[in-house]
Symmetry: C2
């Protein structure tokens, strides 16, 4: 049947109470009983939690065929943990493993091999890139991968739709009892927000660190009360790929023009007032918007109350200049943000449940005024796509995009009209990752389109003299420049399910047919 | 049947898997599935959490006959919350309510009335004083009260033996979304450690504050993701009774002598080394031990790694003097400790699960080197009693005593041999609250007794030249001075169950017979 974003969802997926996407906020006000872990009690102090190797931790946790193991992606492309753990699981002859990661990427290319061998048979993730994406797109994974937003992943864990048997948590520092922190050590990643959730819901929790520190390691991101075992290894990641140098602010005139449009859109809305809240993605134009915002804040004598999200240097700069009161942090992307959370008491770590889960009593995204985010494609219903490349292969991440979009009072999508000779405003997006009803404004280098359901914003932006177009006008312009693309060809078989943040099915990804040259 | 501390436990209480006390650590290594709350989802931002009155919060939460409501005691004798909430529950005609409080006292005398009226029919608490204690002792509560240690209370919540329908959490500050803190406001109590647990396990959570602050109130003790409603009232407590002035260090020569013994006992053990960990109760001699400890630390050039527990000025002084690396805080008893957690970044708030629960994967008490605690009576098996007065009426608190005693490597009980013409070392304690197997040393003003199971400590203390006696010698001496007391007279009926921290039955309290004059 067709869901609320007009996507055909195969009936065989709509079983066991699983619903097609019904529109945002469908479960608002409903009740459910939260999932809970099975806990092995330590009421005395006899036993050490330190184990000599990851293999021994895998054995002590009783990992066996059919289990679900979880990982976080705070080490990004520098992560060593997934490969180290999976190597031991494979060496022990364990099969039929589901990986529940907050994201996987090129750092985990060896896992593609385990997928092809039928050892890894399930994948649940909020980002997928590299050889794993290719393997899934070509139908190598035994079951459809499940793709979720960051908040949606937490919701699935909180509701028990994903029950984690063992969470393996790489931690920059830990003490012998498992109090673990995101800051410090050789592989400093700033926060452990994704892992904070896994630690509370997984039956078994293993902390893996390369920097063992004195008990108690305080204040902890991961609490000892939730940790079964601690393993010390030589290196948990490649620091150079964990916290990279700050992205140089874009000098591309097209980016700067779009960035200025974004800032002007914000300033034209009634939400632009002293004490607003704000999130930006990490795209060039999104980041550049901070620069234009800064002068507008100074001019009006406004301060931002809080910035949330994945954090980068521009946010840290605003904090240090006193233009932001506090940063509420669920992921660090560069050295500046890692340093800031370590040193600045107005920069706070939160769990991804606090950040974005639609399965609790109210996450931060619900209180957002503005978010600026990128897109791969946008269709005339404002549906956004951000998960497959132009060849139809999985290499993207819904990430926090659907969560912040659903929560913010003003959601701005910024994208060039044409990217690499492809129209980005187009008739059909490959996969819907954020439903159009959550998108308010689309900013391009050829003009700005406002979602017709936001007539209030349309009036404000018109009054501010911004270059407005309809989304259809932008689409026609894009096709005029880039031509109408050939449709990608797919097999019938569903290789991935794109869940809406509330757990309904937003779209499916089908097995790609090899491109004809 | 008789349990492991030789107490007769009525068979009718040993039902539904409930066991008599079997000895400490009986459940070590066993597994159970944690309890979980039923959650009402807020995935959008429409609805405010602010309600105009406690009555409306009671109604919105659907409080009805037979429910369990919970409270914390961080406001101690200055608490207004329990009375304000119970008044509304009673006014709405709701009956058969169980109060699950971390402690109740004279501040809650009106509740005794509700017990007599059969409106409050159950009581679960870690401390009981005032008219409520009298009502329970005289058999007015419909079901036996359940008395637990602080850690045992959390364990019961974590295991679902106590399922909280609605937690009413008084908070010194809160924002409109329920991010609540123990510090700040008009009724500053420093930490919300007891409430942190209730917020995670209760189906409905109401934050009641007299100081509403801007969103987000960070870093929060209670997270908005767990909070359903926020109510602002004029006053949540009487500040003068919440954080009292620091207790003046005892000048009583008997207290000072015992305090010095305690410090010398510590120094004589192998655990007295650089970086040990430490907890003291709030009795005069326990607190005075800090003074003697200080000079020993300076002399040896030792530092305490961490102090935990209910915190008072002596611990804060050691922190400020650099003799303690950090304070890990689950309750504040005076203005100094409240100030310290607000201002000193080496002073950390923890939940009572982290502090003391025997139902998680390892609490702080498991890592304790030393604890110094008081007692009302001690018997020749070193069993400690601390819950009823010499007239048999409930007016005490097991508190964290059984938890710290079970965890610490060296548990020191300090008590004068005779108190108010009563022998404190005696043949039979009224109620066992901490099992003797967890007690290592008893310090009195007439000498020091070591538990025979700790021959290692006996040898160390003998070598240090401390005035050692057997516990029987101390008992005989006490009887010689004070005479053998008449036994208290009780009815058969059990009015309270004293649970061991692991949930087994340690002892029972029976209905008191009025004293004959």
């Amino acid at each position: 049947m067709k869901n609320a974003v007009n996507r055909e969802i195969p009936d065989e997926l709509l079983q066991n109470g699983r619903k097609p996407f019904m529109g945002s906020g469908y479960y608002e006000g409903t009740e459910y009983r939260k999932d809970a872990p099975s806990v092995r009690v330590r009421e005395k102090s006899f036993e050490t939690k330190l184990l000599p190797s990851i293999r021994e931790a895998v054995q002590k946790c009783g990992v066996k065929d059919g289990m679900t193991v979880s990982f976080h992606h705070h080490f990004r492309e520098g992560d060593y943990i997934i490969n180290m753990v999976m190597k031991e699981i494979v060496a022990l002859g364990i099969r039929d493993i589901t990986i529940a990661a907050s994201s996987v990427g090129a750092a985990h290319d060896p896992v593609a091999e385990y997928i092809e061998q039928g050892i890894v048979t399930g994948l649940q993730t909020s980002g997928i890139r590299g050889r794993i994406g290719e393997a899934v797109s070509h139908g190598k994974l035994k079951t459809p991968a499940v793709l979720r937003s960051h908040g949606g992943r937490v919701r699935a864990v909180e509701r028990g739709e994903v029950h984690i048997d063992v969470a393996f948590i790489g931690a920059p520092t830990s003490d012998c009892y498992g109090n673990a922190r995101g800051v410090g050590g050789k592989s400093d990643c700033g926060v452990l927000s994704y892992a904070m959730v896994d630690a509370k819901y997984a039956d078994k929790v293993v902390v893996i660190t390369d920097t063992l520190v004195d008990f108690p390691n305080f204040p902890p991101s991961i609490q000892a009360v939730d940790v079964d075992w601690v393993v010390v290894v030589d290196a948990i990641g490649d620091p150079k790929k964990i916290a990279t140098k700050a992205a140089r602010m874009s000098q591309d005139p097209r980016d700067l023009m779009m960035a200025e449009y974004c800032a002007r859109v914000m300033a034209a809305t009634p939400y632009f007032r002293d004490g607003f809240s704000f999130q930006t993605g990490v795209g060039g134009a999104s980041l550049a918007a901070n620069r234009f915002l800064e002068s507008m804040l100074v001019e009006k004598n406004y301060k931002i109350k809080w910035i949330i999200g994945g954090i980068t240097k521009p946010a840290v700069d605003l904090l240090n200049k006193g233009l932001v009161e506090m940063i509420v942090d669920a992921q660090d992307f560069d050295v500046d943000s890692v340093q800031s959370i370590r040193d600045n008491p107005r920069h706070y770590e939160i769990s991804v449940s606090q950040y974005a889960s639609p399965g609790n009593k109210g996450a931060f995204v619900n209180k957002l005024d503005f978010v600026i985010l990128a897109a791969l494609d946008v269709d005339p219903d404002f549906n956004v796509h951000g998960i497959t490349g132009s060849d139809g292969v999985l290499r993207g991440a819904p990430g926090g995009h659907p969560d912040a979009s659903a929560g913010a009072k003003c959601t701005i999508i910024v994208t060039p009209l044409v990217r690499g000779r492809m129209a980005t405003i187009c008739e059909h997006v490959v996969t819907v990752t954020t439903p159009g009803e959550c998108v308010d404004v689309v900013v391009t280098d050829y003009g700005i389109a406002v979602n017709p359901k936001r007539q209030d914003l349309l009036a404000s932006l018109r009054e501010a003299g911004l270059p407005l177009k309809t989304i259809e006008e932008l689409k026609d312009e894009a096709y005029h420049i880039a031509g109408v693309p050939d449709d990608l060809e797919f097999h019938e078989r569903v290789v991935a399910i794109m869940e809406a943040r509330d757990g309904t099915i937003l779209d499916v990804v089908r097995q790609i047919k090899p491109m004809k040259l």
